[in-house]
Amino acid sequence: MPYVQMPKLSDTMTEGTLVKWLKQEGDKVEISEVLAEVETDKATMEMEAFDEGTLKIYTPQGGTVPVGTAIAFIAGDGEEAPAAPEASPPQPAPTAATPSPEPAPQESPFTPAEPAAATTPPPLPAAPTPSVPTSSGGPLRASPVALKLAAAQGVDLSAIAGSGPGGRIVKNDVLAYLAGGAAPAPVAAPAQAPATQATPAPAPVQPAPRTIPAPRQPASSGDQRIPLTGMRATVAERLLASKTQIPHFYLHLEIDAAPLMTLRKQLNTPAEADETGNTNKYTVNDFVLKAAVAAAVAVPEANASFEGDAIVRYASVNLSVAIALEEGLVTPVIRDAQNLNLLQISQQVKDLAAKARNKRLSPDTFSGGTLTTSNLGAYGIESFDAIINPPQAAILSIGAIVKKPVLSADGNVVPGLRMDIGMSCDHRVIDGAIGARYLSELKKILEAPAMMLV
């Protein structure tokens, strides 16, 4: 399959931007050589060649095209690349869940109907299937654990691109595939960028700006127009859908943070460097996350989703943690958080934040969250309401710890440390009483924080 198509790199990806061609037109490329960097809605990833030969580029650097669009051609020996991609149906990318045996013979609105060049293109199968390393294509390279995992889960390894040396498939590749494939995404998105539909010129597909419907205001000089990155567009789409489609309601509860601060100080002061390097500095947020998980275990009704004809109550607490980045917002997931202790949660959050900042979060890190937390305490925000991260049913909004006068048990005004925690709930799943129970459970845990250590 000498066409190189925009790969589907995550289950919410509908289009990708060619950040950079690492190979130039006319370059000889080899299998598994990195061709280009592609920005998905979540991360920047490297795209490798599945064929060897001479590269012909259709989509210029900076171009944004839908998943499955032919973006280049790798011509084998004696083969000539068509000047423009042949009309071909959008392909399920190699990582798509189920490559259909007979793709519908519809024409892609994104590719010109006629090949421009007069030369006869090499015979192509009308509906090429995703590249499958067969017995003739050399041995399938996969680790023993990956093989067993794939066999146990009924996964076809040939549909997976390996991340190990030389494209070797390792356990994590299979896990990522399973996480991504769990929710089958539509194979090809309906026409989303009408602009390209109207340009049947036999030229390479032009970058199509992704647009989110919004009223416009006449621009005045000096105003900046910043095209949406994949990440910003995803944030815009998902949060607009959430706020307009989910009946939100909001609860707030004030928490006595004094015991928490005392405990945190105790935990952070010894900081004796042992040889494992296991000294960890805990943040306030680490405790809130741990408590949020524990409360979700105690009140499982809050760890749920609305699914149209049913409410799904999750067995695991997969905690999405909102992390602000310069170019947007990501919510990587701490999986099976109910099995993690405070230290493990703290370390995972640090790890996720570092990876997010370097744009090195793998797509599977984003899927499967069941509850989200957002913390603006570091900015001094005392109280706020967050928008639910669908398909979840609740999000916690955590404010700053504030020193303020409080009434002591004997009625005196004394200095206290208080923290506001808000909870935005999807009323289709969580009723007021459930939300209130969840928040009061959270309060109970946070006000006796030592219990989180046992």
Binding site: L22, E46, P144, A146, A273, E275, G277, N339, A354
Partner: protein, 463 residues
């Protein structure tokens, strides 16, 4: 002409990074204030292994020679020659690194490097001459130095770090070792073997706290049987160094009456601290004071990279070299995505040797993994008995679901050599089937690995 790369520090991160960059055609300089090879070659891994080899021979001659049928009178040793041999090994390897610099056309600059900003490195030359060099990229690999206890500062004679412990002119008649990590355990073993009365104090409840609990227990039993005094779960709270000896106040960490431990010399081996080069005030540090780096080993200052001990634990030479190679390849090899360490072997060269890679059983428990354990004692290994080293065992931990090797823990003769196979198995994501289908030569110690593997699934032949 400016350099492509200046490396500050010539240890296992620095010299390896410098050579790697030179191999990639870069013009490289390496600034080192002590000797090429860093702590590892000069004051760490290598000279201590030379000392421990001496100890091993001595122990054999003293304790086992008779059983092997040798007899002699007046077994004695020359302490200064023990030390000298160790230094000679270091010298030879350090000059080997200098040779590699020459071979790879790396400018070896002797002096103390300082970050001046804007790609400039100031060097306070060991020959008294100062200079400023310029490069498009800088790799900081300045490493760590022994950490002292606030109430017990190093004085180089009575209160010493590992650096002095490997060159003591006179063998002390008694020594107290604070810290039972790899360094503490190795020196305790070395001095005790040569007849120094040794007490080991460790704040945590066991020797080698990073290792699997069973390994720690086996080592403690071995040390105690040989007459070492172990005070695990004890904290040193005060010290008196006014007299000829060192008097330490030691309290049980769990609370209880204090006791006094007195010795000629106190070796403090409680960990290390970073050696930040001059000019690093502008660099972001981790909460423990190490240089903070991103996924490509870049510090907060663009163009300034860091690798090795200076970016934090684990403080191991082989980890430092791995990091340096990945940092340099990330810089100069197009399309290379640097990796961070994941699995790495840990080795302690005391007697019996301890080596491990992957997860301990405690870690498996904490992570809630479903696992199974296979053990095989060297007591049942033909080769170990023939060699007169029946002490210790192999412990392998497998995930139950797919039989994936999760951790390997070995205590006994040649443990540190045996661990390499286990490292490969974990990196390759091998399962017990690959291990069992690999024929292990007979008779070798490595058969114990094979047997432990079958034992994990209840199929050991020789148990």
């Amino acid at each position: 002409m400016p350099y492509d790369l200046i490396v500050i520090g010539g240890g296992p991160a620095g010299y390896v990074g410098a050579i790697r960059a030179a191999q990639l055609g870069k013009k490289v300089a390496c600034v080192e204030m002590d000797r090429a090879g860093g702590t590892c070659l000069n004051w760490g891994c290598i000279p201590t292994k030379a000392l421990l080899k001496n100890a091993g021979h001595y122990r054999f001659l003293r304790d086992q020679a008779a059983a092997f049928g040798f007899s002699f009178d007046n077994l004695s040793y020359d302490w200064s020659k023990v030390i000298k041999r160790s230094r000679k090994v270091s010298d030879r390897l350090a000059s080997g690194v200098e040779f590699l610099f020459k071979k790879n056309k790396i400018d070896y600059i002797r002096g103390k490097g300082t970050l001046l900003g804007g790609g400039k490195v100031g060097v306070e030359g060991n020959d008294g001459a100062d200079a400023v060099h310029e490069a498009s990229a800088i790799l900081v690999a300045t490493g760590c130095t022994a950490r002292e206890l606030p109430f017990l500062p190093f004085d180089g004679t009575k209160v010493i770090s590992s650096r002095e412990a490997m060159v003591l002119e006179k063998q002390p008649s008694s020594m107290v070792v604070i810290g039972a990590g790899a360094i503490g355990a190795e020196f305790a073993d070395f001095y005790h073997t040569f007849g120094t009365q040794v007490t080991v104090i460790e704040m945590l409840d066991r020797l080698l706290p990073v290792e699997d609990t069973e390994i720690s227990q086996a080592l403690a039993t071995s040390f105690q049987k040989r007459g070492m005094q172990l005070l695990t779960g004890h904290q040193t709270t005060a010290a008196d160094v006014s007299g000829d000896s060192v008097k330490l106040t030691v309290e049980p960490a769990a609370g209880g009456p204090p006791q006094t431990v007195e010795a000629d010399v106190c070796l403090v081996a409680v960990g290390v601290q970073p050696i930040l080069p001059g000019g690093s005030e502008n660099l972001a540090l981790t909460d423990r004071g190490y240089l903070q780096i991103d996924a490509r080993y870049q510090t907060s200052l663009p163009g300034v990279y860091a690798a090795g001990d200076i970016i934090g634990p684990p403080w191991l030479a082989h980890v430092a070299s791995f990091e340096a190679i990945h940092c340099i390849d990330g810089l100069y090899v197009e399309g290379h995505t640097p990796k961070k360490i994941e699995f790495f072997p840990g080795c302690t060269y005391c007697h019996p040797e301890v080596a491990s890679v992957g997860l301990t059983e405690q870690a498996c428990k904490e992570q809630g993994l479903d696992y199974t354990v296979g053990k095989f004692p060297f007591q049942a290994s033909g080769r170990a008995l023939a060699a007169g080293e029946p002490e210790g065992f192999v412990k392998l931990i497998y995930g139950k679901e797919f039989g994936q090797l999760l951790g390997a823990h070995i205590i006994g003769g040649e443990a540190t050599e045996l661990i390499a196979e286990m490292g490969l198995a974990i990196t390759m994501e091998a399962t017990h089937e690959e291990l069992e289908n690999t024929i292990h030569a007979h008779p070798t110690l490595s058969e114990a690995i094979h047997e432990a593997s079958t034992a994990a699934f209840g199929e050991a032949i020789h148990l």
